[in-house]
Amino acid sequence: MSDLTTTAPRRKDTPLRRLARQFLEDRIAVAALAVFLAVALFTLLGPFIVPQNPYDLAQLDFMDGGLPPGSQSFSGMTYWLGTDTQGRDMLSAIAYGLRISLAVSFTSLILALIIGVAAGLAAAYFGGRIDTLIMRVVDIQLSFPSILIALILLALFGRGIDKVILAIVIVQWADFARTVRSSAIVERRKEYIEAAHCLGLSRQRTMFRHLLPNSLPPLIVLATVKIASAISLEATLSFLGAGVPITQPSLGLLIANGYDFLLSGRYWIAIFPGVALLITIVAINLVGDRLRDVLNPRLQK
């Protein structure tokens, strides 16, 4: 194959390098990755480059309320994406909202990943009753739609960023646990685990240094898909009024606020935050789609 000729023979061909090379072969996936990195950069630097802090009331001019995209403020500033009814620059509001959306979804994803991986590995490694107990809980939970479970939890806890994170973690850990378990069970029967046992390595070492790395590929794909769905879930919950509080508006809440003005034709208040949300989610999903192809051993040449 062409791979053999293009790879420098002396450089070590690690799995990670092979993965990166295959990933880069697809132009759409590369573009999606670039878009996602741009969004991430905008999220990090947003507050320093956007024209105003939308939650500092001193910077808002009520006279500038409800202006369409591209209008000029009294002081000569251009509102590229228009303003909401309180004179808030939508571009600035989106930059701040994106921070909250991404912070919530990444935090909950990492927590869900840690809990799910620990539970799944434990189930696969110990087997028996522990396995049955963990997987029964996972099964019951996965038989209910995520939006329903999240709504119940938030109806009970009330609104708040910490509560949204908790709800997403509770919704998502089960998927990770099931995926890790199923790939770990296959790996566990392989000889290198037996060899690790024979060498007298500790349980923790065998689990985390040998079993876990070899069970990773499906987990990576799942994690990308789950970031996208966490962002979407957070936005949906906030839109329904069960998510983040009004003082810390995420993109979902910005859209909810704009919903009231949609019918009167001031579309930009709801549409632009939605576009930001869509770009982020599509980019992540496209990357995840490519990773699935690259990491799927059945589609390997």
Partner: protein, 326 residues
Amino acid sequence: MLVYLIRRLGQSLLVVVVMATLVFLGVYAIGNPVDILVAPDAGAAEIARVTERLGLDKPMWQQFLTFAGNALQGDLGDSFVYGRPALEIILERMPATLELTFVALVLSTGLGVSLGLVAGLWPESVAGRTIMAGSILGFSLPSFWQGMLLIMVFSVMLGWLPAGGRGDTVEIFGGLRVSFLTWDGLVHMILPAINLTIFKMSLVIRLARATTREVVPQDYVKFARAKGVSRLRITFVHVLKNMMIPVVTIVGLELGSMIAFAVVTETVFSWPGMGKLLIDSINLLDRPLIVAYLMMTVLIIVTINLVVDVIYTLLDPRVRLAGTSA
């Protein structure tokens, strides 16, 4: 088979009981509905009167026993807001939700399977690639925002379709109100139905494409081709039939999730179903209604899962044999 059925039924019952307990504990242990139901300037006597009327002064375990006993008789308490049995209100709103869900289910399965089949048979073609790109867009679009786009384009800009409500309904089978039989109702249903369809359709497309690609290289398809069976017959008899087994299973299981997702669609389009009722009840802390909705949905989902499982076992000989030998 009978043993399997009984065991499966037992599991479902257990799930219902566990969920009921969790829901009760959660809903009744947190927050105080009295604060919301009495006027802010009400005196202590008024508060005590309301608390007693709602039975909130009794210890938690006693409330739970009362709740469980009543629930078994189909009594989930009176709504704090409406002052009528919560179950009755839920049942009144349920046809609207089920009607919408059913239409969306039919649409997403029909369109999803046909588009997925095309994408699976010709994966490298322009049509195949467009369908797959569209499906990524379809499940990336947050459903509430997609609904708002629909309203903006078709109601605000073009003015073709109504932005919300259910329109005229007619009664069939003595009391069941449906809107798909009147022109006005049908017009009101188009946008919400599309909204609920798009997300699930995208998932069905991806599943149908994946299974088609697995079925096509199978020996029986090659054999049919070698035998000189027409392309059309191979597609519709050999490929479609075998591809439908996993698709039907997943679609069946997704029905529950569509009922839950109707919450979002109903909120965006002010569709008077039980999902919108849930959101209103959460905002008003109307506990009996929240509990009634949750119990009803849990019951529906558990039943669907049970039925799909049993049908799947009956249909697929491989699963059936594995079940009896275990």
